[in-house]
Symmetry: C2
Subunit: 449 residues, 2 copies
C-alpha cells in the first residue's frame, strides 16, 4: 500500500524534500477539524504547506509517501515520563505505593543508578515511544543530560528536568548540589534544537520552601517550564494541611510556582479553590490516568479542570507504574475515565482529547512554538496511522476510531524533522534501533538487579 517513489526536481516544479499524500489529516490547529485528501509538503525538516492534490501537481519531491488508508496527525507529546525506568518494567505489581517504592523501586535505583542506567534506559523508552507515535516527551529523572542525549540520538525532541529533591541521590548530595546540576544542564542545552530544559522540583512533600523558591526563580530566569508532581494522593494533601496549614497548590502559589510555565503532574485531588488557582495562573495539567488507577491514587476531576480552561496534557508516567508508554491508549483511557468521573458521557470529546495528546502537551512543556500541530513552519514531526485494519473498519468516523479503536501497532510511519524514523511499523536508520541490541541491554540490567 505504501509506495515510495523517488523523483527529482523537474523543470519549473517547486521542489521539496518530501510529500505525504494523506487520505485524512487532523491538524489540531484549527481545532475540531479533519481534512480529506491533503498533501503535506516538507522541506529542511519543516512543514512548508498543506496542499490540495491539484496544488501538489506543481511540486516535485525526493520522496513521496502514498498514505491512502491513513490518518496523519502531529507527533504525540508525552507530558510526563521517567524514561530510564524502562529498565525497571513490571517490578512490584499489586503493592501499595510505599511498599512498592521501599521494597522494589528505591533499592533497585540505589543499586543501578548512574549515567549508563539513565542513557540506556532512556534509549529503550525512546524506541517504545517512537513506535507508539510519541515524538517528544517531558521527562523527569536523575542524570537528565544522559537522558537528553538518548532522545537526541533517537531523533526525538524532549524537555528534560533539572530535578530538585530533598534527599541525596547518586547524582547530588544536597540542595546546592542539585542547583549546580541544574545550572550545568541549562548551560549544556542552551539553544539546542531538540532538547529543552525545565526546572523539576519533584513534589510538594519532597522539596522544602527554600528550595521551591529557588526553583521558581530559576524557572523565571530561563523562562523555563516547571515540571512537578502535585496533588497526586489524598495523603499528600492531608500532610500538607497538617504541616503547612494549607493545601499543596495554595502553598506553591505563595512560593511562586503556580504560573503559566507550570506543568502540574497528576493533580488527582485538587479542590475547587486549587483548580481556580491553576486556571487563573494559566498553568497546565499533565494527566496520567493509568498510573493514578494502578496505584489507586484516585480519579482526577479532569473534565472539570478542562471546563475551567486549564490546558490539559496527557502523560504515560513510567513503565514501573503504567506499564506501557502508549499515548493512544492513555488518551483513550483519559477520555473514558473523564466521562465516568464526571458522570457525563458528553464531556471529554474526541477532538479535545486528540488536542490534549498533541498541542495541549506541546504548549504545556514549552514546545508549542515548534510542534503539536500540522501548520506551515512547524517541525515535520508527524505520525501516520493505517485505518484499513480489522481493528478500525468500517471507518465510519475517523477521529473516533483513531482515539477509541486504533492500536499503536497500526502506526505505520513516524517522521521527526521530516526524517522517516518509523516505516511499516519498524524503526529505521539508527545503530541503536536494533532488536538484538535492545534485548541485550535489557538483559544486562535485569542481571545487574
Amino acid at each position: 500500500m505504501i509506495d515510495i517513489q523517488t523523483r527529482h526536481s523537474q523543470g519549473s516544479l517547486m521542489h521539496v524534500d518530501t510529500l505525504l499524500k494523506c487520505r485524512w489529516v487532523i491538524p489540531m490547529v484549527p481545532k475540531n477539524t479533519i481534512l480529506e485528501n491533503v498533501v503535506i509538503a516538507i522541506k529542511a525538516g519543516n512543514i512548508v504547506k498543506l496542499l490540495s492534490p491539484k496544488e501538489a501537481e506543481a511540486f516535485s519531491a525526493d520522496e513521496t509517501f502514498e498514505l491512502n488508508d491513513h490518518v496523519v496527525i502531529p507527533g504525540l507529546v508525552n507530558a510526563h515520563s521517567h524514561a530510564p525506568m524502562n529498565l525497571l518494567r513490571g517490578m512490584g505489581a499489586d503493592l501499595s505505593l510505599m511498599d512498592w517504592l521501599q521494597t522494589k523501586i528505591w533499592p533497585a535505583e540505589a543499586k543501578l543508578m548512574g549515567h549508563d542506567f539513565a542513557y540506556e534506559g532512556a534509549k529503550l523508552a525512546a524506541q517504545e515511544m517512537l513506535l507508539s507515535g510519541i515524538t517528544c516527551t517531558n521527562d523527569q529523572y536523575f542524570f537528565s543530560e544522559d537522558i537528553a542525549r538518548a532522545f537526541e540520538d533517537s531523533a526525538m525532541k524532549c524537555t528534560v528536568s533539572a530535578i530538585v529533591i530533598g534527599f541525596p541521590s547518586a547524582m547530588a548530595q544536597s540542595t546546592d548540589d542539585y542547583f549546580r546540576c541544574a545550572d550545568a544542564l541549562f548551560e549544556r542545552f542552551q539553544g539546542n534544537a531538540h532538547v529543552r530544559v525545565s526546572v523539576g522540583p519533584h513534589a510538594p512533600y519532597t522539596v522544602d520552601d527554600a528550595a521551591l523558591t529557588r526553583a521558581a526563580k530559576l524557572s523565571e530566569k530561563h523562562g523555563a517550564p516547571i515540571h512537578m508532581h502535585i496533588d497526586e494522593t489524598a495523603f499528600e494533601v492531608s500532610e500538607s494541611l497538617r504541616l503547612y496549614g494549607m493545601r499543596p497548590v495554595e502553598r506553591l502559589a505563595r512560593l511562586g510556582i503556580i504560573n503559566d510555565r507550570l506543568i502540574s503532574v497528576h493533580t488527582v485531588h485538587p479542590d475547587d479553590r486549587e483548580i481556580e488557582l491553576l486556571a487563573k495562573a494559566g498553568a497546565s495539567v499533565a494527566h496520567c490516568p493509568s498510573s493514578n488507577l494502578k496505584l489507586a491514587s484516585g480519579f482526577a476531576p479532569i473534565a472539570k479542570m478542562m471546563q475551567k480552561g486549564i490546558n490539559i496534557a496527557i502523560g504515560t508516567d513510567s513503565v514501573a507504574s503504567n506499564d506501557k508508554l502508549d499515548m493512544l491508549a492513555e488518551t483513550r483511557l483519559a477520555a473514558m475515565l473523564g466521562k465516568a468521573t464526571a458522570a457525563e458521557p458528553t464531556t471529554m470529546k474526541v477532538f479535545d482529547m486528540l488536542y490534549a495528546a498533541t498541542m495541549g502537551g506541546a504548549k504545556a512543556i514549552g514546545w508549542g512554538d515548534r510542534i503539536g500541530s500540522i501548520e506551515a513552519g512547524k517541525a515535520a514531526d508527524l505520525v501516520a496511522i493505517n485505518l484499513a485494519d480489522i481493528n478500525t473498519i468500517p471507518t465510519t468516523d475517523v477521529a473516533t476510531q483513531l482515539l477509541y479503536s486504533a492500536d499503536r501497532s497500526q502506526i505505520s510511519h513516524v517522521w521527526t524533522d521530516g526524517q522517516c524514523v518509523v516505516s511499516k511499523q519498524l524503526l529505521q536508520k539508527s545503530p541503536y534501533f536494533d532488536r538484538e541490541y535492545s534485548v541485550n541491554v535489557a538483559k544486562k540490567w535485569q542481571n545487574a538487579l
Copy 2:
C-alpha cells in the same frame, strides 16, 4: 524465531499431532502458577499432556512450534459481546446513552438488521477476536443462529443467546415469537462441539415478569446459562425501585433468574444485599469496564464482588460502546480500575485477573468443562504471546508484563482445537480471513447506512 519442523512417527516414539515448546506457560489451573520450559502435547484437538523437555524426547509430532520467547496461555474468553455490531463501529461518540441509542444505534439497526448483517458482522468480530487471542465468546444479539455459524466458520467456540426482549424486532414480533426462536436455536445446536446456547433475557427494564419466568424455566430445562444485563445504570436501579418496590437483583431472584447459571453482565450498581444474593447463588459477573466508563455508567465494585466469592469474568461489550475487542486491554483496565475503585492497590492481583479472562469466563458461560485452562483432556485452545518485544523487555515478571505491558499485537499464535489459526500475527487457513474481503464487507455495510 518460530521454527516449524515436520517430523514423522519414529519407531517407539509416542506420536502426537503437535508439540508446543514453550518458554513459559500460565495454565490458570492450578492458580497462581507459572511454568518454565514446558512442552504441550496436542492430539485430535485436545491437550494430551504437559511435558518437561526431557519427557518430550519420547514424543514425535507432525508439527513442532519453538516458542522460545513466548508465554502460552489458554484462549481468552470474552464473557460479553454483541458481535454483529462490529459493522456499527465508531458510531455516536460523546453522546448520552439514550441519545446514542435513539439517534444512532437503533435507527441503524432498524435499517440493516437481518441474517446477513448478523453473519457478516460476526465474521468481522471473529477476526478481530482471534487476532486478540479470544477463542470463545459469549454473544447476545438478534439472529444468533447466523452469529453462531460465523463463529463456527471462524474456528472459534461460542455461547450464543436465545434473546428475549419486550419489543418487536426484525427477528420476532412478540414474546411468543422470541420463545419460538429460542426453541429453534436450542434444537439447532444441540450437541454441537463449538456452539452452546444460553437464554438471553435482555435486561430487567426490557423484559416483564412473565417472560422472565419463562426464561428461567427454559434455562432450567436445558441446563443453559442465563445471559442478562443487570444493574448497568443508576437509572435502571431507581426505575426498578419505583416500578417494583425492589432492586433489580431482588426482583430477579423472586423470578428464578439468580442462580449458578446466571451471567450477570455489567453489574455496576449492586448494593451489598444484591452482591450477597449473587454470591450465595453462585452466579457469575461479566465485567465490561470500557463500556461502563465510556457510557459514564459508573464504577463496578468489582474487588468487593470478587472478595465475596462471585466468579468474575471479563467482557468487551460491542465495538459500538468500547470500541475494541481487546481482551488483554480490557483485563488490564479491569485490574487498574478495580484497584482505584476499591482505593486498594493490593487487590485485583495479576493472576486473579488472568484467571478471570480465561477460566473465570469459561465457567461463567458454560464452557468450563472444555476450555479456560491448560489441562490434559481440555480442548487445545491456546494463545502464544511473544515477550521479546520493546514493549515487554526486560521481562522481569512474566505474568505482570503479560497483563500490564503486552499489546494484542504481540499475540503471535492462536490455536483452536489444536489447529493453528493465527501464525506470526496473521490469520490462517480460511477463505474468510482475507483482508480485502473484510474491508469490502465493511464498506458495503457502511454504504448501506
